[in-house]
Symmetry: C2
Subunit: 303 residues, 2 copies
């Protein structure tokens, strides 16, 4: 098996495992949509979209696998290897965003990916990226601590520097500059990882992928049945508007994907099922909504 | 009075007139929010935001006036005058987006603006821009024809070439490339207008601003009381998701404004109060929803 085949197998299995666990918790099936090729002819490839909409637990949960081959690596895909921009490439990944119905249950995002550049006159170069981050509507310290602890344990075997670096990278990346707000309580994020060769990178990526269920599901389970009313629902919809703003304005993958002819419906799996906007919405000092901004949507060491 | 003072007076009066007419139709008052300065220190200026949220007729209607002075004109602001990028500038405008509650009433956008570049070693250069476009959820030929006719009449006195050029420009600009879809039925759009000097440009801009009430209000009035149910409401929310996608991904003003430290809440006046996303939502052939895509969200000569 080629390296890409090995990674493909792993990713397809990861997607199956995550979706099976979610379907079990939700009590309903995900819809499976296999697709081939992007919107235009420059990207070739295939993918599997698994999505649950209007479920008991998940109001919208999308988990996509994709594997594309393109003629020219975009410069934005490899900030640290400008010499590879424009070379042929292969990209494989699993990406998910889950929007639970209950406002006390946080939204979560996870992504793991490998990119292989195949320059004409040199050996292929592979690197890995990934991460996960948590976006609560109502903050719980214990949830943030749990999520970060699992993230830390997943990457620590690869070096003591990894968690602090990837945690800081996550805070940096999932930041809404126009609001001066973090997207959520963070987690880990890394890109361009090629330390110690393919096997080490693949092991790191797999460790992050494998950790997802442990990182998120226990939080979901303790929050998903919390009683709530219009107040919490309204705040959740409003905060989901920020999720939309981040993904469409700042997320390089989303923005670049949409502008360059990627498959819109797959890229926009991350969108919430429903989101609202209101002019200068204020929170009452000392309220749980105010706590979210002051205690959770800030850069903070959780573990 | 300086040219900028003259334009400022006009714009403030235009905002007052439009808001008064909307408040009359809605039966409720707009909230007035005066602000000064942008989010960071690079842009100085002031503005007045007028907004009606959760009204009888308007679910969210924002109309903003702004007047800013900056040290360095962004290249994106003057595509046809690259030599002025980086020079000092002054920008004044009124911008509005109205989202009615009734799904049979279309969303509308209008913007008129003047930009003056003040290079260190040369005379100031002023140009005008603006336009308006209509985004129905349920299409009516007579509405599209009426809207375009008013647009045409507003710009025709400035040359027979104006309406065809500005109409085509609007179709080009309000296009969601990632969906291969027009945002709506179009209207007119122009930028970098400086033909025949200040007075001519100001007259064109005013003619467009003055035409707005005639272009939109008659359509709103005949649609705003149409009975509707969940089906129409669901489709409206879904289509509003496209409005969000356009504004955050493709609209140069919004995207640039948010990335460069503009006032987020003013820039995002255009966001709908509530919007939804669903995976590969289909429409039944021959249904009014299907008609919208096939007969209205396409480039077409309406007059």
């Amino acid at each position: 098996m080629s390296n890409a085949d090995t990674v493909r197998e792993y990713l397809l299995d990861l997607q199956r495992r995550i979706v099976a666990e979610c379907a079990r918790i939700d009590g309903g099936k995900f819809v499976k949509d296999k697709w081939a090729k992007g919107r235009d002819e420059t990207l070739q490839g295939d993918g599997i979209t698994m999505i649950r909409e209007d479920g008991q637990v998940f109001e919208r949960a999308g988990c996509g696998f994709s594997h594309v081959v393109g003629p020219a690596l975009p410069a934005s895909a490899t900030q640290h290897r400008p010499e590879l921009a424009g070379s042929g490439f292969e990209a494989l990944g699993v990406s998910l965003v889950f929007h639970p119905r209950n406002p006390y249950a946080p939204t979560v995002h996870m992504n793991v990916r490998m990119i292989v550049a195949t320059p004409d006159n040199a050996e292929p170069v592979a690197w890995f990226g990934g991460g996960m981050d948590l976006t609560p509507y109502y903050g719980y310290e214990q949830d943030a601590i749990h999520f970060h602890s699992v993230c830390k344990n997943a990457v620590e075997p690869f070096g003591a520097d990894k968690y602090p670096r990837f945690k800081a990278w996550c805070d940096e990346y999932f930041y809404l500059k126009h609001r001066d707000e973090q997207r959520g309580v963070g987690g880990i994020f890394f890109d361009d990882f090629a330390e110690s060769g393919f096997m080490n990178g693949f092991a790191l990526m797999s460790s992050v992928g494998d950790a997802f269920i442990d990182a998120y599901m226990p939080i979901l389970k303790i929050r998903m049945d919390t009683p709530y009313g219009d107040r919490e629902r309204d705040f959740q919809l409003y905060r989901r508007g920020r999720y939309v703003e981040f993904n469409l304005v700042w997320d390089r993958g989303t923005h670049f994907g949409l502008q360059s002819g990627g498959r819109a419906e797959s890229i926009l799996l991350s969108m919430p099922p429903l989101a609202s906007w209101a002019y200068q919405r204020q929170t009452r000092p000392g309220s749980p909504e105010d706590d979210l901004y002051k205690k959770f949507l800030v850069r903070k060491d959780w573990v």
